[in-house]
């Protein structure tokens, strides 16, 4: 029988990619022993290109392109089932966050461009208004993705029922913009410190 690749790795092996994920979110993918409990409980595993179990292993092996081009971390609902049940406390929730953050910063859209678009639209809306203006997010998102008719009926009914603010209101938006800017500065400084 052919040897499984992971058996060739020393127990403390961690790829550069795995190391990056660890640095970003304090999670050690090396702890995973592939029991698949995470995938068994994941509500969206069937829609993912690779299961959570496969993704964490691929991160460990440093298969960066394979991981980042998958839809797995975009589809993750952050429901926390994997992290709750993992006997090794690997913290898949944080792995997924780290992957989305890396992809966002590199402009990687892979197999779920609509979800990336949604995050971007939502965040710029949040930055602008200081709070979420649902109708604005939905409208911009539909415009950007060309999915204008999807959910149109539902949207109109929601408006009629008073579930959506028709006109946006601002909430402490000056402070919000200051925070967005300052976060970028502090992040840049921190990156500079670790690069050295």
């Amino acid at each position: 029988m052919e040897k499984i690749k992971e058996l060739d790795l020393p127990s403390d092996h961690i790829s550069e990619f795995g190391d990056l994920v660890k640095q970003m979110h304090d999670v050690d993918v090396n702890m995973c022993y592939q029991c698949r409990k995470c995938t068994s409980g994941c509500p969206v595993a069937e829609y993912m290109d690779y299961s959570p179990t496969q993704i964490i292993h691929a991160v460990r092996l440093g298969l960066k392109d394979m991981v980042l081009s998958s839809n797995t971390y975009w589809l993750c609902l952050a429901c926390g089932t994997c992290t709750t049940r993992c006997p090794q406390e690997t913290g898949l929730l944080e792995v997924m966050d780290a992957l989305a953050t890396i992809a966002e910063s590199k402009g990687i859209r892979s197999n779920a461009p609509e979800i990336a678009k949604f995050y971007e639209t939502g965040l710029s809306n949040m930055r602008f208004f200081g709070k979420l203006y649902d109708l604005g997010i939905a409208g911009m998102y539909k415009l950007k993705t060309g999915k204008l008719t999807q959910d149109m009926g539902m949207g109109i009914k929601m408006m009629r029922k008073g579930k959506l603010e028709l006109l946006p209101t601002f909430q402490n938006q000056g402070e919000m913009r200051r925070i967005f800017k300052k976060v970028q500065e502090v992040e840049k400084k921190a990156r500079g410190a670790t690069d050295k």
Partner: protein, 290 residues
Amino acid sequence: MKYAYYNSCSLRSTGREYDKSLRAIFKKLDIELVEPKNWICCGSTLAHNVSRLLSLVLPLQNLAEIQKEGLDAVVVPCTACYSRFKTAQYEIAENPEMAAQVEEVIESRFEKKVKVIHPLEVLSSEPVISRLPELVEKDLSGLKVVSYYGCLLLRPPKIMEFDICEYPQTMDKILSAVGIPTLDWSHKTECCGGSLSITRPEIVRKLSRDLLEDAKAVGAEAISVPCTFCHLNLDVRQEEIEREHNVSYRLPILYFTELMALAMGVSEKDLLLKMHFVDTDSVLQKVVAR
């Protein structure tokens, strides 16, 4: 009793019913809720995907404001916000480096931890829970309800520290304290599809349908929820799910606060039941004088 009240984005738009009913029952309990003036969005289900620091700063900035206003505990009804607040507190306690970065951005320090509480915790703790039976004015014992908890409130348990995460009872206890019996079912803590509602509605319809099926199978006549995402997926999308699968559920989805308000004699006029997509008349018919 007096708490800060984080009346977040969703409670001002899609979840106004939640805010309205919550205020009504807290008033009956003489619990004062104070909205922090300078609140901002907590980052919701968005920020953590793009920046860890941003996802920590946004909730903690709000806690810093609350601290400045002299309050030491905040009630957070939206489960997404509640989860972001608790995660942020947990992470800075575990990681001093992140804590320093956060403090640099928000330009203030945390001397004392502001306690983050979900309304379910306020209502299930003493002395509040013992007072609930005496405040009941209407009999709802004929209504069969399942309580649904979802994900964000419970997981991961080492951060959330809310009840027993695989089999919570908090909402069931509160509802039975106001005379509403709850049924046991297997989907209490399953995910409804939450944040994929707009981007991948087909996935949400599949997950939410499983929930509705199970609720119906055990004979529920309504589902009680603590979360604006769950409410949106189960209530607003229910008709679509029915059409897609050629079934009929007609299951009213009520916030636990709405059910409690009805039992505590809050008049229908003072709630926003008309905002629901699934008609709530079948529930109202079960509200009878005692």
